[in-house]
Amino acid sequence: MKQISQGIAVSIFLGLILIMVLGGIGWHLLTSASSTLSTTMSTPVSDETLSVAGTTISSSTPSSTAFNVTAALISGSPPILGSPNASVTIVEFGDYQCPTCGAWFSTQEASLVQNLVNTGKAKLVWRDFDFYGLDSVSASEAAYAAGEQGKFWQFHDLLFQNQQIPNGGWASRQNLVKLATQLGLNMTQFNSDFNSGKYDSLISANHALGVQAGVTETPTFFLIGSNGKMITIAGGQPESVFEQAVAQLTG
């Protein structure tokens, strides 16, 4: 009898472990995939935020109407790499201090640009999802300030090439100015733009948009086809996955 009760106890113990493991994976999958295929949401971000982000959701849109995430992701004028006429838009939500974003940049982005962006199949859009700390926000501001001189993507690349431990000081405002100097920017204009604070609302709006779209980790990519279909790729997945997804969206 005692052996039977012990057996039951062991089974319950192992069952609990299994449930916890599978439950954890299931929960993660559910939260990551919450925004697939033309998701609509009933609680949009505020109109003020959307106008800052430059999205097409007009201020007259009643808050109770459905919010089309796909439309919001591709609207406005975020930094774009590649042909504006490419049939697929890849929207990347990232943080310049995020190690996974840095690893994805150094191992996958060049292949993606070569195989999908340079061939005109897709264009890459950057949106900030800063959650690692204030240095992340400073890095985003510096990238936008470089963008005023037409060098957003060069600065974006430079940031990831110089990435170190998050909040370790490599993305301090002082070091960001050094990176800008290294890139050969007009420093008077850069400093003026960088210190103006004019990008803060855009960065906040991008974060809010990411939350609305279901971003729970960085990098997260939303691949949007010309027909409005969307595929979400969460995490630092290999470039071959992007090729497969683009083929699916255009096929």
């Binding site: 062991v10 995939a33 191992t107 959650f131 998050p166 971003v215 997945q237």
Partner: protein, 168 residues
Amino acid sequence: MPSPTVDTFKDVRYLCVAVTILFAYGIMLLFLDQFLFFTPYFTFYVPPSEALNFSLDLILAILTSIVLTVSVRQINLQRGSGGATRAGALGIVAAIIAGACPCYYLIPVLAVAGTVGGALGALGILLNAFQVPIKFAATLILIFAVYKLNSSGVCKISLPLEITKQSE
């Protein structure tokens, strides 16, 4: 000299339990470390720079399955030896501590956790930066647990008093 670990895996039931834990824990680690993806397509990918991290995940999964299974068997044998029970409990505690070490997995959750996420997120970021040494520490804990389980004296069975008297 018989080893509790070897004896455990001679029993098919315990072997099945170990394989189940190995797969469940291994898949969880590989998924959370982004070596395994389920969406949008099933993808398995190990970047060359992450080979060490991947190896540590496999070692952790194997050791955890051994420690948990042998610990459960030791507890089942508790009527025979108090030492076995203690070792079994130690093994389970060690497995839990080792499993809790890679708690940097909290980061994705903390990203949208608001103000509380700020403080805990900082801890998560710190742990994430040192994930390889942390996994080494977890591996050492589990190796120690395997050693203790194997030297737990499970064979020192105290015979019931009646049998002892009969043999005299």
